[in-house]
């Protein structure tokens, strides 16, 4: 579904993406793992077209994304830090997003809005919101248009345990529907019961892309966190 082919990206002297090639398919739930500054977010932004690769290309459903923009209708994106126009209230923001999309027979998925109880906060201005509430808004927006692909950048950071659980349940539910989910997270333990595959990145390079069972047998570890730790030790 998403194929990245030898993509490179350089920010000044820093090589954020170094010859990365990835193939992601429907029904997979991929954990994107790596230390800080390893290029995870840059990779995600490249897929979304927010960062333009220096060379290499990315295709979505077989089409190069460089001159395409409609493919983004199929992606729900939850940014690492959700930042929104300060003057808008939650309600206005959600309405605006609906208005901008304005697709015919659009099936809205407002589960998260209800579960996070955002409907009671609709009149609140974005600038008055706490980090957690913002994350809730971000998550709700990502799922709102029922996209085929979900890209979640540190989804649980800043969320309280209850909200965290709600979000995880939601991710599992969507995965079951056969959607492609891409998650980055530092907290490996919470990826344990979610992901089916792991992509490990370091210094902008893709170190490996494996099925989780494969990874566990390779390292002989039961837990994902332990397995990754073992890999990290090995690479050093």
């Amino acid at each position: 579904m998403i194929i990245a082919n030898n993509i490179n990206k350089q920010f000044g002297k820093l090589k954020a993406l170094d010859n990365v090639s990835v193939t992601c398919n429907k029904g997979e739930c991929i954990g994107l793992i790596g230390p800080n500054g390893s290029g995870k977010t840059t990779f995600i932004k490249s897929v979304l077209g927010m960062v333009v690769c220096d060379n290499g290309f990315i295709t979505f459903n077989g089409k190069n994304i460089l001159h395409d923009w409609q493919y983004r209708a199929n992606i729900g994106y939850m940014p690492q830090i959700g930042r929104y126009p300060d003057n808008m209230s939650i309600g206005q923001l959600i309405n605006m997003m609906k208005d901008i999309r304005n697709e015919k027979d659009m099936q809205l998925d407002e589960d998260l809005i209800k579960q996070f109880e955002l409907d009671k906060l609709m009149h609140k201005r974005m600038r008055t919101l706490s980090g957690g509430t913002r994350q809730k808004v971000s998550a709700s927006l990502a799922f709102l248009f029922n996209p085929e692909v979900l890209i979640l950048d540190e989804p649980t950071a800043g969320l309280d345990p209850v909200a965290s659980e709600i979000l995880k349940e939601k991710i599992i539910k969507e995965k079951a529907k056969g959607k492609l989910v891409l998650i980055t997270s530092h907290i490996l333990s919470e990826l344990d019961d979610l992901v089916t595959q792991v992509i490990y990145m370091q210094d902008g390079k893709l170190i490996f892309h494996k099925k989780i069972e494969e990874l566990k047998t390779d390292t002989g570890q039961e837990k994902l966190s332990k397995a990754i730790a073992a890999v990290m030790l090995k690479t050093k």
């Binding site: 990206k9 333009v52 923009w69 493919y71 930042r83 208005d99 901008i100 999309r101 304005n102």
Partner: protein
């Protein structure tokens, strides 16, 4: 595109600065028209405002607004929208709201007090200058990532167009005092939209006679339909060129 423009305009109109700008212009133009004994002279005083304040506010407001809308732009870019659409919507939204302020603040008083060719020229010049400086601001913002540096650059740009360029012209005039510079001056003004608008309005005001031979040369050029169309075209180019360059840059910008 219309929807994004709508949201940009709604957001800008909620901004207190734009309201203050409108009221400021309105108060200024009303007091000028009431204080000056003839409304034709009022237009002359207004000309200074149009040439100094309008570009300054337009370029500064547009730059700050775009910098502050970084999040909004990011949000939009992750949506199924063309970048060009997003950027041009931003540009259009800013232009429309600033032109609206200008029109309420200066346009309506001018139409009430001095509904003449001069007044209309002044309005056209003001509207074009507003849009030109929004376009220049957009280009500066897309080139410079850092907000503080960007705003500094934008102020310098304004200073260049309203002051330094003329200083340069003066310098050139004195360096080449022995040569006939009048015709060259017509070409030179094309490089500064503020100068071009100023001369367009001044020539409509019948002060060209005061400008001696230079004025005559300018009148020969700007007085004709072809000259007027050319200068309008140049001003439109001043909108199109920065806008086009900024779209091109924004298309490849990393957010």
């Amino acid at each position: 595109m219309k929807k994004i423009i709508k949201y940009v305009i709604i957001d800008i109109l909620r901004n207190k600065i734009i309201l203050a700008y409108t009221l400021f212009l309105l108060a200024l133009s009303l007091s000028i028209f009431n204080l000056e004994d003839s409304s034709a002279k009022g237009v002359l005083s207004l000309l200074n405002i149009v040439l100094i304040i309008v570009p300054l506010v337009s370029i500064l407001f547009a730059a700050i607004y775009v910098y502050n809308s970084a999040e909004f732009l990011e949000l939009l870019v992750s949506q199924p929208l063309k970048r060009k659409t997003i950027w041009l919507s931003m540009f259009t939204g800013l232009s429309v709201s600033l032109v609206l302020s200008f029109f309420i603040g200066i346009g309506i008083p001018v139409l009430l007090y001095e509904f003449s060719a001069t007044g209309i020229t002044l309005l056209i010049a003001g509207i074009l200058l507003t849009v030109i400086f929004v376009a220049i601001a957009m280009l500066a913002v897309v080139k410079i990532r850092d907000k503080a540096r960007g705003i500094g650059a934008v102020i310098l740009l304004w200073l260049y167009f309203s002051l330094l360029f003329d200083g340069l012209v003066l310098f050139i005039l004195f360096q080449f005092a022995d040569y006939p510079m009048e015709k060259a001056m017509v070409a030179i003004t094309a490089f500064n939209p503020i100068d071009l608008s100023r001369i367009m309005v001044l020539l409509k005001m019948d002060v060209s006679a005061m400008m001696g031979y230079t004025g005559a040369v300018f009148k020969d050029f700007f007085g004709t339909v072809a000259g007027l169309l050319t200068s309008l075209l140049v001003l439109l180019l001043w909108i199109a060129l920065p806008a086009w360059l900024s779209v091109r840059k924004f298309n490849r910008k990393d957010l």
